[in-house]
Symmetry: D2
């Protein structure tokens, strides 16, 4: 799908991402989009922390959920939109470091719903520590 | 528990909440704290929306998770802290309206872990529409 | 809906339940079916226990999932079928006593998917202890 | 850990499994136990089906949950026991074929709780179709 059609698809996904104001507020960037895969990175800004100065679970969830959603959207026909139906997150370690990177992928594609997952790591220099894993359901909606 | 001890407990919970920078970034306020119950409200700021201008799932999750966490913390001994171990969110309707209000409560208290839930509604004037329900696990940690 | 149509609907639900061989194997009975609500009871048979002699989580899940599924099905058009898409269960206490009773209900009905829940209690004489709560998603399929 | 201690550990795990009457009722067998990994297989018996003759979600859940639990237990000190705190299952495809095989593993070990997963496939001859994925939390308890 890494052809003209794929590229067009990915452009409209990047465009949708750019419209997510919360992602901008959190300083998040889409650093990769491919068929069935999406990576979103966000710095751990002082404005996005919890009471101990680590990443708030809301930040971790937000980028994990978006990465999973766009991974699903990348497998849907042009003009589709996708909504999170439900999502479970396990927090595995405190979110501390330079930035968080969420990798979304598709566990089971489907016309009516897609099972998706995302894994979030905290990066500090070369170091990568898993901080969360998400598993959930995306539903396609007419765009 | 609405005695001197309870009040002191609730003060330290409000203090912990005030330290959550992400809550401030999202404009969230703790509008109620009681034994086993916490309510957090947040406006749907233009800076916290998804691509259609509705509340981003990250916002809904963030206040639901915090409300559930502080509901759990309210039942723990002074000096405790609480961490989200895992949390599942179902998105029930688009988050649109004046503000979101999350009500956290405790399904099953415990010394080693607490099962918690939160329900999030969107308020527009007198109108209240359920937008999400959360169910998860909080673990106490030494403060 | 407690009219002729409703009754007919409920008959076909009971018929579907009777076809679930696992329910029979576990000694489970549908003790109530109404619009958006279903109750299933099962004895804690020696053949359905875990290593400590309590109800196996598989038993608790099975009747909770079925109760939630039939609660959803009761709100769908005649001739529909329903499948569990995903289900989360929290085990709250050991499953011990005379029998388990699962009450399924619908959190949010929908044409494409239904959010459902179930609560399972262990009954011993007059005593009722919550042993599990479930929250999940059912999808309608053509019958 | 595949030394004398490991072998002894695994023996007591097999012993615990043999005490799970529901596993026997379902015809389930532990076909592999190693450090952080456990596989359980079960035939799709006529006595464990749902209304369409496929594996009941209760069967799929039961072996997935047990495989995940024993994977966790294999990493705990001798004499430990483990309880499912919460578990989410996604059903990916109908459970049809010769047998189901659940592979449990540990996502994140911990002294107070362990994040676990299990994947269940349906086998028909050489064919393997993913039918479910589970993600949940196990808690160690004194044995």
């Amino acid at each position: 799908m890494e052809n003209a059609t794929g590229n067009h698809r990915f452009e409209s996904i990047r465009c949708s991402f750019d419209l997510q104001a919360l992602m901008r507020t959190l300083g998040a960037e889409m650093i990769e989009i491919a068929s069935g895969r999406c990576r979103i990175a966000a710095p751990i800004l002082p404005s996005a922390t919890q009471q101990h100065g680590y990443a708030h679970a809301g930040l971790t969830f937000a980028i994990g959920d978006s990465a999973a959603g766009y991974a699903a959207l990348s497998l849907m026909p042009e003009g589709s939109e996708v909504l999170t139906s439900e999502m479970k997150i396990h927090l595995l370690a405190p979110g501390k470091g330079d930035r968080l990177v969420a990798t979304g992928s598709v566990v089971k594609p489907g016309r009516r719903l897609m099972v998706v997952r995302a894994d979030v790591v905290a990066e500090t220099g070369e170091d990568r520590v898993p901080v969360a894993t998400l598993l959930g359901t995306m539903v396609p909606v007419a765009g």
